[in-house]
């Protein structure tokens, strides 16, 4: 089976995210003062072949732990869909 996996990598909560702060300030300057707690992360999409959804998720977790995310500074979320 083929799966499409969406990986969302975000700076860990509690760590300073200067990119998020800069975007928040820019939003404020544009009149979107109601926006707060802006954080900037990274989205990665990939296809992979796996025998099951669980295997697709497990393999992608390994990819995240080894390369796609830095375990010291980032957390990640996976979304797996068939296709």
């Amino acid at each position: 089976m083929n799966f499409r996996v969406h990986v969302r990598v975000m700076p860990r909560t509690g760590l300073l995210d200067p990119q998020g702060q800069a975007v928040e300030h820019a939003l404020g300057a544009l009149g979107f003062g109601e926006a707060g707690d802006v954080r900037v992360g990274r989205a990665i999409e990939l296809y992979l072949a796996a025998s099951s959804r669980a295997e697709a998720e497990a393999r992608t977790r390994q990819m995240c732990d080894k390369l796609l995310a830095n375990p010291v500074t980032e957390d990640y979320l996976l979304q797996v869909e068939e296709g």
């Binding site: 200067p18 390369l67 010291v72």
Partner: protein, 230 residues
């Protein structure tokens, strides 16, 4: 004569400076390409600054998987001295040869200027030319130099005396901003528990001759020649 391998990745840009500084320190220095599988009998390994693999994904994240890094890991694990400067420091953290990570500077800007640091570990292969507590003026040039680590890792680094360089507060003696990137505990450089793997954000290879405006970095390379040849 001491053999010093300077590892070049696609995007390294301080490689010639590092090579020349090692030569001026008295070593036989040569380049090793990232696809090489061995270090050609190196006694000491330098990972120079730059933007390996365009800093794709994260600084140092892709370089970590270069074939040469297997040889660097073996060299480090057998006690061989390794110095990562700037991007080299980022690569050592990504390769888990050093703990922690280097994140985007707190001020967001790329910072390129001299800073003052204190040598806290004069007993490594790269800092033996200095005294404990000696103040050095060295240039930094980085956008992602904010050292961070888990609280217990930071406590361990401090308790074990593994902070090699620390940014010092501005004073009348120094007009420079104390901590250019917001790093935890003002850390500018650390080492592994054995002390043979060192990572630093400042660039001593750009400051090894008063003709360059700064000469305090020369000690990193004269220290190497005092390191025991294995």
């Amino acid at each position: 004569m001491l053999h010093v391998a300077v590892v070049r990745f696609p995007g390294s840009n301080c490689d010639f400076d590092a090579l020349r500084a090692a030569e001026r320190g008295g070593a036989n220095a040569y380049f090793v390409w990232h696809r090489d599988n061995d270090l050609k009998g190196a006694d000491v390994v330098l990972l120079p600054g730059g933007f390996s693999y365009g800093d794709y994904l994260r600084s140092g994240a892709i370089a970590r998987f270069s074939p040469v890094m297997q040889a660097v890991r073996r060299h480090a694990e057998s006690g061989g001295p390794v110095l990562g400067i700037c991007n080299g420091f980022q690569i050592l953290c990504e390769a888990h040869l050093l703990p922690g990570a280097l994140m985007r500077n707190a001020g967001l800007s790329f910072v390129s200027k001299p800073v003052d640091v204190i040598v806290e570990r004069p007993d490594t292969a790269f800092t033996s030319a200095y005294e404990a507590g000696q103040r050095l003026r060295l240039p930094v040039a980085h956008g992602e130099g904010r050292f961070v680590a888990a609280d217990d890792t930071l406590r361990e680094l401090e308790a074990e005396g593994r902070v090699v360089l620390r940014y010092v507060a501005a004073s009348e003696a120094s007009p420079y901003q104390p901590n250019p990137n917001g790093s935890a505990n003002h850390i500018a450089g650390i080492c592994n528990p054995a002390g043979n793997v060192v990572g630093i954000m400042p660039h001593p290879e750009r400051a090894d001759d008063p003709l360059l405006g700064l000469g305090d970095g020369a000690g990193f390379f004269t220290s190497i020649s005092k390191a025991s040849v294995r």
